[in-house]
Amino acid sequence: MAHETQTADLDDPDRIWPTGLTIRESEEIHKHIIDGSRVFFFIALIAHILAYLYTPWSF
């Protein structure tokens, strides 16, 4: 097996388990999730508007 090297100090007391992330790291992941959700929302909105223009649905 190839020699492996640890890149993050997993014994760091600032890490919170079970994720093993620090608060700032988890905030960053959270930001990616929120940004991604916003992108998905706008994409879905545009797709629905175009689908409505193609075949309007009635309520």
Binding site: A2, Q6, E25, E28, G36, I46, L50, L53
Partner: protein
């Protein structure tokens, strides 16, 4: 009791990182299975290329009856993003975040752009074509939404490919780069080949509903492929505790530093000229076979397969020949040299009215282009300064994609213009007007290849000892190294 508690805690603690997308360990070289997984992003890029340039090109013109001029503009839009690949590479080189990632955030954002573009694309195309009840909608709605879809997909594919290749460079030592490049190219071909077959089969009975299914299926496929490709590939290198880094250089400073590298601009010019030389033939070989040599559609379609087989063998050959310490510029030169007889054979096929030289020429064009592309990408990866891999690969991609696009546009224009001017002439060297249009393009390609070969002469044999021995790879990048406990 305490022992059980400790064991339970360690099991609990080990569960979290397993489901996190980053790696906590690095290896000096990437194992084959991880490299194969990483190369899946190339499959998604290949699929995107086939869908945009091949499948949708035809669907828009034939099935949706969109004017060819609008289709041409839509397909050309992603090319507008190509020059920005250098900036994308620079941004990923200098990206700082808490997790210590450089490439993954870009690949993820690129994937979202690709997914988003594909998600709205089928509806945008149907509105653009005025199908359903969209005929009452102003034309600009369809045009602008289709343009947005094409721009999003194109931008996404450029971001994913640029930062994906930079990540592959980061994760592998210099000695493995020929293998990595070969793998990446072959996976691009696999993605293009497989998706062309699948799209062709599922769109055989065209309906608007099927178009929506196919394009949104491609959206999902690109999301899944790219996510699997980057999962646990890039190790996190958290900045906490590390000395505060110097301020990042601006793009201008970074570019200037890159240009100070040995023959940096010459290397980019070689990539551009060679790509143009090989790329101009791409769209002309099939019509040349049909129009000048009177081949049937089935026969000319086989030419594409022959070109692809030549390409595949070229990548395998280049991966085999480029051993650690060997000179990628000698191979670059040889790739361009292979193109010279190839285009000469294609030209000779018309006055001789022979199929054999045309077939051999086609195979050699595929082979030479693959060897040339492989060698230039390997050289770029191997000679990229450690902190500028993204910028170097971005510049390579920007020049390569722009040159390919310009070649595509120029080749058709030159053929048509020469054909029109020569239409009245009886024959030149026994050739009629239309044949001269094609042959003038092939002759220009030979001239470009000769310039490319001449431009490589100062580079051949100049790979420095530093580059040959700079094989320490990722181990150099580790900031908080300690032996693995696993």
């Amino acid at each position: 009791m305490g022992r059980y508690r400790e064991r339970l805690l360690s099991v609990w603690a080990s569960l979290g990182p397993r489901y996190m997308p980053f790696a906590d360990v690095v290896t000096p070289d990437l194992p084959l299975h991880k490299l194969a997984r990483l190369s899946l992003f190339q499959v998604s890029v290949g699929m995107t290329m086939v869908l945009l340039v091949g499948t949708l090109n035809r669907v828009m013109i034939v099935e949706l009856e969109v004017p060819a001029a609008i289709v041409g503009v839509m397909i050309a839009l992603p090319l507008l993003i190509a020059p920005f690949r250098t900036v994308i590479g620079y941004k990923s080189d200098t990206h700082r975040c808490e997790l210590g990632w450089r490439r993954v955030p870009f690949i993820w954002k690129g994937t979202l752009l690709q997914f988003g573009g594909f998600a709205i694309m089928p509806f945008a195309l149907l509105v653009l074509a005025g199908k359903g009840q969209a005929d009452a909608v102003p034309a600009w709605v369809g045009q602008s939404s289709a343009a947005l879809a094409f721009l999003l997909v194109g931008a996404g594919a450029h971001v994913v490919q640029t930062t994906g290749l930079a990540l592959a460079t980061d994760l592998t030592p210099s000695k493995s780069h020929p293998k990595v490049v070969g793998f990446m190219y072959v996976m691009l071909l696999v993605g293009m080949f497989a998706s062309a077959l699948i799209f062709g089969a599922v769109l055989a009975d065209f309906t608007p509903g099927r178009l929506v299914q196919v394009i949104q299926g491609a959206a999902l496929a690109s999301l899944v492929l790219n996510s699997v490709a980057i999962w646990k590939q890039e190790a996190r290198r958290p900045p906490r505790g590390a000395p505060r880094p110097e301020a990042d250089p601006s793009f201008r400073e970074s570019w200037d530093r890159f240009c100070q590298g040995e023959h940096a601009i010459r290397r980019l010019v070689i990539v551009g000229l060679g790509t143009m030389a090989f790329g101009m033939a791409d769209v002309l070989l099939e019509p040349y076979g049909g129009q000048i040599l009177n081949w049937s559609v089935a026969d000319t379609t086989k030419l594409t397969a022959l070109l692809a087989i030549g390409g595949l063998l070229g990548f395998v050959f280049a991966s085999h020949v480029l051993k650690p310490g060997s000179d990628p510029y000698r191979l670059t030169q040889n790739g361009a040299l292979i193109g010279l007889p190839a285009f000469a054979l294609v030209i000779a096929a018309a006055p001789l009215d022979l199929s054999a030289p045309f077939l051999v020429g086609n195979f050699l064009i595929g082979f030479g282009a693959a060897v040339f592309g492989h060698a230039t990408l390997t050289a770029t990866m191997s000679q990229a300064p450690k902190e500028q891999a993204g910028l170097a690969l971005g510049a390579w991609g920007a020049v390569q994609a722009t040159a390919a696009g310009v070649a595509l546009a120029l080749s058709g224009a030159i053929r048509d213009i020469v054909g029109i001017f020569m239409a009245g002439t009886e024959s030149v060297f026994g050739l009629a007007g239309p044949a001269l249009g094609y042959i003038s393009v092939y002759a220009l390609e030979i001239a470009l290849l000769l310039i490319t070969v001449a431009a490589t002469i100062p580079l051949v044999g100049r790979i420095t000892k530093h580059h040959r021995t700079n094989d320490s790879g990722v181990a150099e990048d580790v900031t908080a190294a300690r032996p693995s406990q696993s």
